[in-house]
Each structure stands twice: as structure tokens, then as C-alpha cells.
């Protein structure tokens, strides 16, 4: 294997991992932008999407099970918001965050209970798991598709936020929650929409992720969730392009560190980055520069 192939192979892996983090990170950053809530249950919604697919595809053909998985994940995301966050909307922010942690544990433990704690094989999807040879690089289609699909979905999302009425409402709510409400924006619809988008992207991420790493376990969402959260903070929490850039930076850097043989420090790198960002530039790369209103 010559040097160029080696670097391309390593970079490709990093970009794919980054793409997966990006899709999850958007869910964090959007919910934070609207509700000022760090939705700790987001990683577990990603995990739940994996199990939905496992169970749905056991009995149903792919063209039903795949849309069903996306739909169920969206329903789960919105249901979590309605049940665990909405009643706490007037409560201090800390309460709602604790509620999010509670939901996270609930989902994990329920999954452990329901599956018996054993890893489940993810169904093999046609095409995207197939192996391709580009020049001297061998890889699977999902490695190529992940970053491309991520960028396409993000472009669509940015357009939605910029050019649609719902997008305008979202921007207004994230700027000033109460005033937006006074101006007649239906807050609950906007919030639900945020969770619909976030959960949908998490479901897409789970399909891509598990097509590559084909076992689903109840705690699998924890680590990607945490990394995606760091990516969101790094990019400036609340900013969609920021989350995507942050995710790619973390994915690629982690992979370079692993390739150099310093696996011991790959996770440490991610979390040291979080600390440094919080100390020196708490608003992140693309964060809003406005100071908190008193």
C-alpha cells in the first residue's frame, strides 16, 4: 500500500465518522437554539432508531420498514418533548435538563430490558453495505454516501430555515422566545417541528451508522451522542453549519490521532477540545455573539 492510498483511506474514514456525528449534532444544536435545552436523550433516540429498524425489518420488507423506522423515531422524539419537556416549560432550565437525563436513562434501561442486553445484528441493506474499489482504496458504499448525504440534508435544512415560513418562525423563536409568542407564533408547533427534524436526522444517521457498524446495543448511543454534543459546542451551539463543521473536524482529528497510534488520547482530545472551547471561546466557531439579555 503506497502512501497516498494510505492517507486517502484514513481521511475517508474520518470524513465518514464526521458525517455521522454531524447528523446527530444538528439535533442537539437545533433544540438548544430554540429551547436553550441540551437534549441529553438525543443519543438514545439515535439508539432507539437502530432497534426500530432491527425489529421492523424482522417482519416487514425494506420499503416499509425503512420509512416506518424514520416515522417511529420522529414520533418518539416528539413524544419525549411532549411528555418530559413541555410540562416543564415554565420551570427553571435546570429541571428540564435533569428531565432530559432521566429520559436518557429510561430509554437505555428500557432497551436493555426489552432486548435482554444482548447486541442485535442490524439488517443488511442492499447496495450501501456493498464493497467498492476506487483505485487502490477498498471501502464500502456507506463510507462514500455518508458525507454526501449529510451535506445534502444540511443544505436542505439551511434552505428550510432561511426561506420558509416555519424557518422564519424558528429563527424568531430562537432569537426571543417570549416576544415571538406575543407576535402570534405558535410556539408549540415550532418546538415540535424542531424535534421532528432533529429526530429525523438522528434516524438517518442511525441507518448510515449501523449499516457500517452492524450491531445495535442499548448503550450504543451514548458515545456518538457525546461526541456530537462536543461538535455542536465547538461549532457554536445553536448554529447548524457550525455543528456540521465541528463534527467533521472532530471526526477527522480523532481518526488521525488513532492512525498515528495514540488511540489512548483520541477521546481525550475530543473532551479537551470541549474544555478549551468553553474557556476561550464559549460561543464556538459560529456562535451568536450577542450577550445574554438580563
Amino acid at each position: 500500500m503506497d502512501n497516498l492510498t494510505y492517507y486517502i483511506q484514513q481521511l475517508l474514514t474520518g470524513v465518514t465518522v464526521g458525517g455521522q456525528y454531524a447528523l446527530i449534532a444538528i439535533g442537539y444544536t437545533m433544540v438548544y437554539g430554540i429551547l436553550r435545552l441540551i437534549n441529553f436523550a438525543h443519543g438514545d433516540i439515535f439508539m432507539a432508531a437502530g432497534f426500530f429498524m432491527v425489529y421492523a425489518s424482522a417482519t416487514l420488507p425494506l420499503y416499509i420498514s425503512l420509512p416506518l423506522t424514520l416515522l417511529l423515531t420522529v414520533i418518539l422524539g416528539v413524544a419525549v418533548e411532549r411528555i418530559a419537556y413541555k410540562p416543564l416549560r415554565q420551570a427553571p432550565r435546570m429541571s428540564i435538563m435533569i428531565s432530559a437525563i432521566g429520559v436518557s436513562y429510561l430509554l437505555q434501561n428500557f432497551a436493555t430490558y426489552y432486548t435482554g442486553g444482548l447486541p442485535r445484528p442490524y439488517p443488511k441493506l442492499p447496495f450501501i453495505g456493498d464493497i467498492i474499489q476506487i483505485g487502490s482504496v477498498t471501502t464500502s458504499w456507506v463510507t462514500i454516501i455518508t458525507p454526501l448525504l449529510t451535506l445534502a440534508l444540511v443544505a436542505g435544512l439551511v434552505a428550510l430555515i432561511k426561506y420558509t415560513k416555519m424557518g422564519m418562525a424558528m429563527r424568531a423563536v430562537s432569537r426571543d422566545f417570549e416576544t415571538a409568542q406575543l407576535m402570534g407564533i405558535k410556539i408549540n408547533n415550532v418546538i415540535s417541528m424542531t424535534f421532528v427534524i432533529g429526530s429525523f436526522l438522528a434516524a438517518v444517521a442511525s441507518v448510515l451508522f449501523f449499516s457500517k457498524y452492524t450491531t445495535v446495543t442499548p448503550t450504543i448511543g451514548a458515545m456518538p451522542g457525546l461526541k456530537a454534543f462536543v461538535a455542536a459546542v465547538f461549532g457554536g451551539i445553536g448554529s447548524v453549519p457550525g455543528a456540521v463543521v465541528g463534527a467533521f473536524v472532530i471526526g477527522i482529528c480523532e481518526n488521525i490521532i488513532k492512525a498515528m497510534g495514540y488511540t489512548t488520547f483520541s477521546d481525550a482530545f475530543t473532551f479537551v477540545l470541549l474544555i478549551l472551547v468553553l474557556i476561550f471561546k464559549p460561543t464556538g466557531l459560529f456562535g451568536e455573539k450577542t450577550t445574554e439579555k438580563v
Partner: protein, 401 residues
């Protein structure tokens, strides 16, 4: 009104506590005056080695169904299994071990996985309750701990067996060792393999990954970029299929070798068509007819598994007999023999009796050396038959001491 409410709540709590204690008393009494001896089962039922822990527990439960009582000093005791889930992680292991010691068990069986056994070792030692390791192969489990015994072989032996296998059978000169950071089993076995393989004149390159990692492409690209002829990757059941799959997808065709943890059918199921050229060493083979006790165990165990759908599910969906189930079976019988020899259910008495216990187990005869380790010197090498989705016995291997 408020005071009244407070009073009611206090009363309710007191009653609840009272009811709890009362329930406990009834529980003890409902056995009709029979004496009960408790055996703790310290195994993972979830986490990265959950699938293996479940198979080990199945062996123990089957043994319990055959020998539900034990004669201690002329009195018949009913054996009660107290099962806890150590979740395959070291910090949960200590809590799980404490719940066993406070449940008043006489002896503990387990665990699958060396890391959790090492972590819990001190808890058992302090509580003076002996533990019989079932398939924890790291030497540190029993070292410096008079209360830990085990019925399986050790990693220095296993590492040497696999190094010999790589060198002789695979004609490998360069090996790439991939281990899991912070996992005593994985790093330990990797180090013993490296030592044995370099002693045989081979060269070794190494890489490590973090617990919970699912992407091994960075490491595997390095493997592809090296001169390795063989990969040695002792790791958890959860990691194995991911590693195998990613290696084969990247175009790595060299044999992948591992240790006893990989003998779990969920690996075959999860890795699917990619699980070619995988070799592992383990403790037992169900088709080995040399030992009549083993043949009897295999027939009985299969029938027992098939009688209950839940057992089959816990075994990974088929009635294949895993080596760890056989070891679990042996460990239970050793514990029973120790209780009989001790003539007392007290932990210290059982511990004093254990070194003298010998038993003809289904995995070979069991006797303990001065560290409390079983004297075992034979490993079974198996490979994966991808077409039929089963483990295929290849050969037994012993090494000259």
C-alpha cells in the same frame, strides 16, 4: 392539616419498611423449614460480554437443576442461586459483588471476563467469601487473593497456544496485535501472545482501541500498511463482529486469531458472511467424545435448553454448547463438592476446603494449584464455519512446559 398529612406519610413509610422486613421473613420461612445455602452467581447479563455471561449462567443453572440440594454435615440444604448482573464493567462489578456478600452467600461463581473479577476480588476477600472464577483467564484474578479460585486455564498458557498456532499452522512471521485499552483480559492476553510470539522468532506490531469504540478503520488501515500475516485481537463479544467485518470490508484477508471470548454464536450471527478465517482457542468442544461425562453433559444440556424457549434465546438462539456453559457446570459442581468437604456453609470453611477439592468435570479433571488456579493444560482451537453458522473444532493443543 399539614401535620396530619406528615403523620400519615411517616406512618405509611414505617409500615412499608415493616412490610419489607416481614416479607423477607416469610420468604425464609416458606421453604418449609428446609435449610438453604446460597451460591452467588456473579456474571454479566448485559454490556459488552453479556452474551457470554448468559451462557455461563445457563451452565450453572443446568447444574443446579441436576443437583438442587447438598449434604452438609449430615443435613440436607437446598441450594439457592443468587444472580447479579455485573454489566461487564469494573465499576458496576464492585456494587454487584457487594450485593452478593450482603445477601449472605457461601460461595460465589464467576465471572465471565477477567476485568470484573479482578475488580471484585477485594470485595470477596474482605467479606471472606470464596469465589470460583469460571472463565476469567487473567493471572491477576487469583494472584495475591486466597479467596479467588478458578476452573479454567490461564492467559500465559492461552497466549502461548495461539502464538504457536500462528507460527506453526498459519506460517506467520509478523503478527498485528489489537487490544482494548483498560480491559485486563484483552491487554493481558495480548501481552502474553506478544511475548510467546517474539520468543518463537516472530515480530509483533501493536495497536489499541478504546472501550466502546465501533470504528476500527484507522487501526485496520495500519494493518493493511504493515507486513503482518496474521491479526491477534483478543477482545469482547461486542467488539469482535465489528472488527471482523471492517477488516474484511477493507480487503484484509489474513487470518484473525483471538481468545476464548470469541466462542459465542452472536459473533457469527453479527459478522455474517465476513467471519472467514477466524481462529480462537477455547476450553471445551461439544463433539469431543473422549470423556463420557462430557458426552452425557452435552446431551442433557441440549435437551434442557430445548425445553425452554427463554433458555434458547439466552444461549444465542441455538442449542450449541458453549465452552463457558460447560465451565459454569463444572464450577457449580466444584462449589458443591467444596461445601460437602467443608461440612459447613460458612465462607471461611469453604475457602479452607477448596484447595483440597478435586472433581472430574466435563472440561477435564479439576484440581487447584497453590494460587487457586485449575491445573489445565489443553486448549481447543476452533474456527468459524460461515456456511452453517457454527464453530468448527480444528484441533486440541497442549504446550510443553
Amino acid at each position: 392539616m399539614k401535620k396530619f398529612l406528615a403523620l400519615v406519610m411517616v406512618l405509611a413509610m414505617v409500615l412499608a419498611i415493616g412490610a419489607g422486613c416481614g416479607g423477607g421473613d416469610n420468604g425464609g420461612g416458606s421453604n418449609g423449614g428446609d435449610k438453604v445455602v446460597k451460591i452467588g452467581v456473579f456474571e454479566p447479563a448485559s454490556g459488552e460480554n453479556g452474551a457470554g455471561g448468559k451462557q455461563e449462567v445457563l451452565g450453572i443453572r443446568y447444574a443446579n437443576s441436576l443437583t438442587p440440594t447438598v449434604e452438609i454435615a449430615g443435613e440436607t440444604y437446598t441450594v439457592e442461586l443468587v444472580e447479579v448482573d455485573n454489566q461487564s464493567v469494573t465499576d458496576k462489578a464492585v456494587t454487584a459483588a457487594q450485593s452478593l456478600t450482603s445477601a449472605g452467600v457461601s460461595v460465589v461463581l464467576g465471572s465471565y471476563g477477567s476485568g470484573v473479577s479482578i475488580a471484585a476480588g477485594d470485595t470477596f476477600k474482605t467479606a471472606q467469601i470464596p469465589a470460583i472464577g469460571v472463565s476469567c483467564t487473567n493471572p491477576q484474578v487469583t494472584q495475591g487473593n486466597d479467596f479467588y479460585f478458578r476452573v479454567c486455564f490461564l492467559d500465559p498458557f492461552q497466549g502461548t497456544v495461539m502464538a504457536n498456532f500462528a507460527k506453526d499452522e498459519m506460517q506467520a512471521d509478523n503478527a498485528f496485535v489489537i487490544t482494548q485499552l483498560g480491559d485486563d483480559y484483552s491487554t493481558g492476553l495480548g501481552a502474553y501472545f506478544k511475548q510467546a510470539f517474539t520468543d518463537l522468532g516472530g515480530t509483533v506490531e501493536e495497536a489499541q482501541f478504546q472501550t466502546g469504540d465501533v470504528d476500527f478503520n484507522a487501526i485496520l488501515t495500519n494493518v493493511l500498511n504493515s507486513d503482518a500475516d496474521v491479526i491477534f485481537a483478543p477482545s469482547s463479544i461486542q467488539t469482535a463482529p465489528l472488527l471482523i467485518q471492517q477488516a474484511r470490508q477493507m480487503g484484509i484477508t489474513m487470518p484473525i486469531l483471538a481468545g476464548d471470548t470469541w466462542e459465542n454464536e452472536s459473533i457469527i450471527k453479527n459478522a455474517g458472511e465476513y467471519a472467514t478465517d477466524v481462529y480462537l482457542s477455547t476450553f471445551f468442544d461439544e463433539n469431543d467424545t473422549a470423556n463420557p461425562a462430557a458426552a452425557e453433559f452435552v446431551t442433557g444440556f441440549k435437551a434442557w435448553l430445548n425445553a425452554d424457549q427463554q433458555n434458547l434465546t439466552n444461549n444465542g438462539g441455538s442449542d450449541g454448547v458453549a465452552a463457558v456453559s460447560a465451565l459454569g457446570f463444572d464450577a457449580y459442581n466444584v462449589a458443591i463438592a467444596a461445601l460437602q468437604a467443608a461440612a459447613s456453609p460458612a465462607g471461611t470453611d469453604v475457602q479452607a476446603a477448596l484447595p483440597g477439592v478435586t472433581a472430574d468435570g466435563v472440561t477435564g479433571s479439576v484440581s487447584f494449584d497453590e494460587n487457586g488456579d485449575a491445573n489445565k493444560d489443553m486448549a481447543y482451537i476452533k474456527t468459524i464455519d460461515v456456511e452453517n453458522g457454527v464453530f468448527q473444532f480444528l484441533k486440541t493443543q497442549t504446550i510443553a512446559q
